[in-house]
Symmetry: C2
């Protein structure tokens, strides 16, 4: 069992796999509930309550008392909120015990326990399995248990689970398929199998609070089909403890995207919401068992409580951003290995921004995907190659004339936004003539592609690799190598690092993924962070070519890596023990100390090139410097925030990114053998549970002093935390 | 051309046929825009502007200055609203000339004119026409013209049309089908064909106000694909006047309803939004011509300006509530006359309540549907017979023991709510154990069915009738007659009117459609209004049986009509010259004077039984009394509101219903030969244009003193006004 959390007042995602949907819940005094394709928590009242007739109702604090919309019909004023809510009391924070497991989220208060189960695990390649197995993995539902302990009660009690939505609900029993529950049209709903003796009954009324307070096992609860509030009422006889298991489902029919016409793949396996709910209820015990096993697995690790929390919380939010689509009109080539008629398109949405498959997230989420479903990473790489690659010219942005030179292949920052696939060869994010946020990330995305391709194709600590795929994309890998070279300036001046910006920038310049930070991390050219990533990208290509038996290219790539390493090493500031964030002279922010400079050590480590990341290996000088850089940076006042004790991405900004910190912690501890103070994890967990970041489930960009949300809310990338468990 | 309106600050629907969608616009200082399946206006900024570089922007007042969401990406504060809006000026009410035609809505201010076109007209039965013709009728789009008159200008000017939505937009040119415009995913968007010389360009940016103010024919407008604001910018050279024609389209893919799985029929004819927009743009001239012809047709009538307005406004709102679906899984029997594979289901949504095919609206909208598409009325009748009829017992609600007797067939109040089809034999609205709002309307709906069946089946002033359909449903008509008889009490006591309530009421009693009014109209048993409707229903059945050659049943029904007429006539209060609203002794509100008591004279009149509604005919006594009742009621302080001069449904309530007033005006003037003061029309138009009712497009329930909205907002039923034109 996960341990009780010290504070309980934060939102978490609760989501099935690939449905871009979440039953978000957890902030005290705030709504939540069923949301599909949203940028934040939904806005439904969620009623989770225990009723003791004559003694009133006690409920979790996830709803707001509200007036009755029946006034619109009758023209009359409804009874006041206070009158109707008089019998409702919400549990205070001190009464609520919350545990967040890897696949459960549970609240206990008084005699009430409510648990949401979001089982997950390895998902086989959906083009290689039958529809029956796929149905189990893709059923767009999560699960809940409502328990009321009336063993000490001297009279009947009731448990209640329900919602108040914007639109009218429908009782599931209307559909006549043996389920009880409430649904909103064909969009979402919750279902349960009947309990013996009619102990579980539907209730639907505008005056839900009154009706629940008046629960009575002899009187039928109201069913008002116009009402937007409803739920399930469970009778619990005196002396008993009783649990009701529920499935909470989501559904979207038909084509859901533009640019590429896609449906949700689950909508090919289930004909509608009711079918999906029926399947979920039928298999509910198995699903809940799976969730418990996930919990146990995380519990059994040696991670600290804070890290367990961070792993669990980030997993919940990653799942909430996933979207498994079907290419409805065959816009893309099919996998040559497909044994089914399905043409899946995998999308991870970028949290509140909802950009599709942002490549600088893909590279960080690759670790998780390789552990659980490497084929989703391949799917994204294939879509990048087929539709979201482009060839540019490059330009010397340090010369006012901006002379142009041959460029090469790169990949777009993302594939569109908010269910809109961008046109081929373009992202939704990148624009010309900028030098900061929204400029091109051509160079970094080229590196990211190389790293993702190597992570997927090569055997790694995480997955077995796919050399067939590497071989099939041999030409693309060669194009990547040429493109990296072209961006390194004219032959004679090449130093292994990026010198030229993409011509797509026109009068702007390239940026890195750290787009919203100060120039110490935002600018691409001269970036120490990107320099080490370049080194890793060359190593990635070298390893791939080696695997493919292409000795000359392998050697060439390794030589470029060595050249890059030497150039980086030459920037070492021995006296101050650090790599400047920017290698350009007199750059603003160039003297900043940044943590991401070590980020890319993770890649060679994962594909087993331990020599490359060892202080005693062939890049020993660079690695030693990076280790010293890191050790010096991990100091209060530099990259440890003096106020909170949490880590700072860069010494010169309070804007820090949690997903990157997790990755950096892994590199520091596991690869560089440094100790990162456990107080950092305590701060990071506190930011998410107690800072304003708690308003947005997993939030990536927070203020390092107090965890205020600065961006990247409701975000999937925190699953870099899974590196802690390998 | 429609005449300029005296006041211009009100919302109107602008909708295609059968798409349950509206581009709602018109309140000054309020948003509007694209809305699908909504209960009220959408919440988008709508930017309609003229730009004179250096002199700023002038715009219609349909947007609110707003801060840039880019802050979520950059973590930085955007420039203040006021800075960005400095160059924007909205036209004041005194500058705006608005005309509302039957199928256009036009605003002219300064050098800017903007017109929305919503062409409508007869729609042939969709199961009898080819997909090509159907596509023309069902294309889910409306049309607009943006004109900028720069003939007096000394420099280039620009026209702009755009929106600010909740989610990111996409430039239509991304799809590469030759159109320019903006869309939100596959859900809605606007499109235009390119103008020569790149005079029409897309613009998309969070800082839309700034970008539009900086319009420049030499500089490409920004395209920021993450942004939620965008539009089309039209260059207008000095000395020219230029117009851009736009199509505004809506689309929903896949199954959109529960209970019965249906899609929008248009989604079988167009593969997606872009296809529908392309078709709309290709045929835009024809569509706009049709809209202009509609306008001319209304203009050419002899109606007063106020009545023309009321007809136009109500037509707009009716269309906005219409929904032509396709029965996706063959849940219902197909029409035996169908020559296509389509299985249409017609739904009119009940305005803000969104109940499906509310039968007491169907009977009032039948007049409009018979004029334009009688097959939709048949479709609704078929669905009523097949799925939404039921057989009850009846009970004597005046006896505390509520003894039960055999009942008969009746029909549900509605077929569900908000895209949720109710289970067979049940409405979403009706519930047991009530005596007011939300109780059963069994008796009235039985009458309504008889009247609708007769209106559809018999030749009328409005349509040619369909005797084959009547013959096919002969058994149902017999069942209706038996059911009416059974509800008239035990044989010996029958007086032609309703005596028994449906057993479905349990401990409640039946109500009428006037559910939200005081008991003078709300209670069914003893209702003078329902009594006259009973008489009309018997006449309807008699006429149908006569047409079918069923002499004995025709005679029996006519006898019951005569019995009802005699019973009603006996209630006449000679001294006070009125029929009490309720025939029961000592009823509260029984002494109210009500207008709807004459409503049902319209039916015999329409199927040509002028004798029945003549003071000199076989019901001469009743008709004379009704005429005197009406004449006396049409007096200030009784059913003419002293404050506003508008009509009151009942003397004892300020809650009055416009759609019913239109029908009653028709009966009073055309059938009873009474004069209704034109000042009533002036008041009615004023309520909708100046009262709070203006916030909700056509609003049916208003306060008679000032037009405050009391219910039935955003409502389709106002098309009873079309009776004025026959």
């Amino acid at each position: 069992m996960p341990k009780p959390l010290p504070t309980t007042d934060f939102y978490a995602h609760h989501s099935p796999f690939g449905a871009f949907a979440s039953f978000t819940l957890g902030r005290h005094g705030f709504r939540g509930g069923f949301g599909s394709e949203l940028a934040g928590p939904a806005d439904q009242d969620v009623y989770i309550a225990v009723v003791r007739p004559g003694k009133g109702v006690e409920a979790l604090p996830f709803f707001r008392p509200s007036s009755s919309p029946s006034i619109a019909y009758t023209g009359e004023v409804a009874p006041s909120d206070s009158a109707r809510s008089a019998h409702w009391r919400t549990f205070g924070p001190e009464e609520i015990v919350r545990t967040l497991g890897w696949a459960t989220d549970s609240w206990a208060a008084g005699s009430l326990t409510f648990t949401l189960h979001t089982p997950f695990g390895p998902v086989p390649d959906v083009v290689e399995i039958g529809d029956g197995e796929m149905r189990r993995h893709l059923c767009p539902a999560i699960f809940a248990e409502l328990t009321v302990d009336n063993r000490d009660g001297d009279g009947e009690a009731f448990g209640f689970f329900g919602i108040g939505a914007a639109d009218p609900l429908r009782p599931l029993s209307d559909a006549g398929n043996g389920l009880l529950g409430m649904a909103r049209g064909g969009e979402y709903g919750f279902a349960a199998a009947p309990l013996p003796g009619r102990a579980l009954r539907e209730l639907q009324t505008w005056e839900l609070e009154t009706a629940v307070a008046l629960a009575d096992s002899d009187a039928a609860p109201p069913i008002e089909r116009l009402a937007n509030r409803g739920g399930l009422l469970m009778t619990v006889p005196a002396g008993e403890i009783r649990t009701c298991r529920l499935a909470l489902g989501f559904f979207r029919h038909g084509i859901v995207t533009s640019g590429i016409a896609t449906t949700y793949l689950y909508s090919r396996l289930f004909s509608d919401l009711d079918t999906a709910l029926a399947f979920a209820v039928e298999n509910i015990d198995e699903y809940i068992d799976t969730a418990r096993l996930c919990d146990e697995e995380l519990d059994a690790t040696g991670l600290s409580d804070e890290r367990k929390f961070l792993v669990a919380h980030s997993t919940h939010s990653y799942l909430g951003s996933t979207m498994l689509l079907h290419d409805e009109r065959g816009a893309l080539p099919r996998s040559p290995f497909a044994t089914t008629v399905h043409r899946p398109i995998w999308v991870v949405n970028e949290g509140e921004y909802r950009m599709l498959n942002t490549l600088d997230l893909t590279v960080d989420q690759a670790f998780f995907e390789l552990l659980y479903h490497p084929w989703t990473l391949r799917n994204t790489l294939d879509l990048l190659i087929h539709r979201y690659s482009y060839t540019d010219e490059v330009q010397d942005a340090t010369d006012p004339a901006r002379p142009r030179f041959p460029g090469g292949i790169s990949f777009t920052h993302d594939m569109g936004v908010a269910n809109q696939f961008a046109p081929a060869r373009f992202s939704a994010y990148e624009r010309p003539d900028l030098s900061g946020c929204f400029s091109y990330m051509t160079y970094e995305q080229l590196c990211n592609f190389c790293l993702c391709a190597a992570l997927y194709g090569l055997p790694t600590v995480l997955a077995e690799g796919d050399v067939f795929w590497l071989a099939a994309h041999r030409n693309t890998l060669h194009a990547c190598l040429r493109s990296l070279l072209h961006r390194d300036g004219p032959d004679a001046l090449r130093n292994g690092l990026m010198s030229f910006d993409s011509g797509r920038c026109r009068n702007g310049q390239e940026i890195t993924t750290y787009d919203s930070l100060d120039p110490s991390l935002g600018q691409a050219r001269g970036s120490a962070y990107l320099a080490v990533k370049t080194w890793a990208a060359y190593l990635a290509l070298s390893r791939c070519f080696d695997t493919l038996g292409e000795e000359p290219s392998a050697v060439e790539a390794e030589e470029r890596a060595a050249c890059a390493a030497a150039t980086i090493a030459a920037q070492w500031r021995e006296v101050d023990e650090f790599f400047p964030a920017l290698f350009e002279k007199d750059s603003p922010g160039g003297a900043a100390r940044t943590l991401p400079v070590v980020e890319s050590l993770v890649y060679p480590y994962l594909w087993g090139d331990e020599d490359a990341v060892s202080p005693y290996g062939r890049y020993g000088q660079l690695i030693s410097q990076l280790r010293r850089h890191m050790k010096a940076a991990l100091t209060p006042g530099i990259c440890i925030d003096r106020v909170s004790g949490g880590l700072k991405i860069t010494s010169v900004s309070e804007n820090t990114w949690l997903s990157k910190l997790f990755l950096i912690q892994f590199v520091a501890e596991t690869i560089l053998g440094l100790k990162v103070p456990p107080s950092t994890d305590q701060a990071h967990a506190r930011w998410l549970r107690e800072g304003e970041a708690r308003n947005h489930a997993f939030t990536d960009q927070v203020r390092s002093t107090d965890g205020a949300d600065l961006g990247s809310r409701f975000y999937p990338r925190g699953v870099t935390s899974h590196l802690w468990m390998i």
